[in-house]
């Protein structure tokens, strides 16, 4: 499932070639074709809509900067998704302390926008995913939703494949527990 099914012949796409040559409008077409999937990925990995918007922007800016290095060995979609995962996981390092961002914005109201979620309310799957601990959420989204293998996740998230497997089972147990309550 997921990313790997899509192996379109986008390499020869004139729009892609134009974007690679530095045409921002051609890149705009690529952006609009892919933004929905990239935003969904960022949202599920970040668990926060505002953060996901920032990350989505970062992904496309980075894609633009790195477009010349895309050689068409894989489908463009696959390349872009891997790039997106790297952008999100790398971002965690900076945002590993959520408070950082508050400090940078220096907005006292930002203190109040915490991650408070009312307990006991019935959760849909999407909400339950966003509630998972970060490590478990990452692996669940990448493996079960996006279709990456444990080996691929291991490389990207710098964890052992066995760790990825353990996190996946932990995530599923938590999700099932919440959804059935």
């Amino acid at each position: 499932m997921g990313v790997h099914e899509i192996a379109s012949g986008m390499n020869a796409d004139p729009g892609l070639l134009a974007a690679q040559a530095g045409d921002p409008d051609a890149f705009g077409t690529l952006y609009h074709a892919h933004v929905g999937r990239i935003f969904a990925l960022c949202l599920r990995l970040a668990g926060d809509s505002r953060r996901a918007e920032e990350l989505t922007q970062d992904v496309f800016v980075r894609a633009w900067e790195r477009l010349s290095s895309f050689r068409g060995e894989s489908a463009f979609t696959t390349w872009l998704h891997r790039l997106a995962v790297n952008v999100v996981l790398t971002d965690r390092r900076t945002a590993w302390r959520r408070s950082r961002r508050f400090e940078l914005t220096d907005d006292p109201a930002a203190f109040e926008r915490g991650v408070d979620r009312s307990e006991g309310v019935e959760l849909d799957l999407e909400a339950a995913i966003s509630r998972l601990p970060e490590g478990a959420r990452t692996v669940f989204v990448l493996h079960d939703v996006e279709g990456f293998t444990h080996d691929e996740i291991a490389d990207m998230a710098r964890i052992a494949a066995g760790t990825s497997r353990a996190q996946l089972f932990r995530a599923r147990r938590l999700l099932r527990g919440w959804l059935e309550r």
């Binding site: 499932m1 921002p24 935003f39 922007q57 939703v145 291991a154 490389d155 059935e180």
Partner: protein
């Protein structure tokens, strides 16, 4: 069957792609194992809902104008200045220099696959480190000299580790643990630079 091997079969069992003999072995194990019963039930009950999740979701607002603006900014003179700073830093940064040499020297086939493995891991980190080093250079006078010494000492330790991990990965390009070790070196280097840049802005 151990729990570990049972777990490895659960996904294909749920997907219905498991060979009959393995399916039977798994069922036998699950029948006597409470832990694996939980895992099988969780996988089974989540598979459908997960498939039904939307693949695409539109961001609440149109992000393209903001993205577009950042694209333009990257290609204007500001970028040139950054590139100039980068050139200056390359001379000082052994990591980058070594990487560029890798790119040039990757002529023989075996070296090429080692170098390719290194490139796969390092893609992006080098640029990121350069940008951060440029930012740090700008904020340098706001940092106490002792802090700069601390940062540089730790960067040296990390640079040495990166060089050793890279050499090891070049010898054994398929080794996942070496890929993770090299990636960790870069993560730590970038994290330290980010911490230093933050300090130069905040304190």
């Amino acid at each position: 069957m151990t729990c570990e091997s049972a777990r490895n079969l659960i996904d294909s069992y749920v997907a219905g792609t498991l060979a009959a003999r393995d399916a039977l072995a798994l069922e036998e194990h699950v029948a006597v194992c409470a832990e694996c019963t939980i895992d099988l039930a969780a996988a089974g009950s989540l598979a459908g809902p997960v498939r039904a999740l939307p693949r695409r979701m539109d961001p609440p607002g149109d992000l393209w104008p903001a993205v577009r603006q950042r694209l333009v900014r990257k290609r204007t003179p500001g970028w040139g200045a950054l590139a100039a700073a980068a050139v200056l830093l390359i001379a000082l940064t052994s990591v980058v220099t070594a990487l560029l040499l890798d790119r040039r020297d990757a002529t023989t086939a075996s070296l090429a696959s080692g170098a390719a493995a290194v490139r796969m891991v390092e893609a992006g980190y080098v640029e990121q480190a350069l940008e951060l080093e440029a930012a740090l250079e700008q904020g340098r006078e706001r940092l106490a000299p002792e802090t700069i010494t601390i940062v540089e000492r730790n960067l040296d330790v990390i640079a040495k580790a990166i060089a050793e991990s890279r050499a090891a990965l070049e010898q054994d390009p398929a080794n996942q643990d070496l890929r993770i070790l090299l990636r960790t070196g870069h993560e730590q280097r970038v994290a330290l630079l980010e911490q230093a840049v933050r300090l130069s802005r905040e304190l």
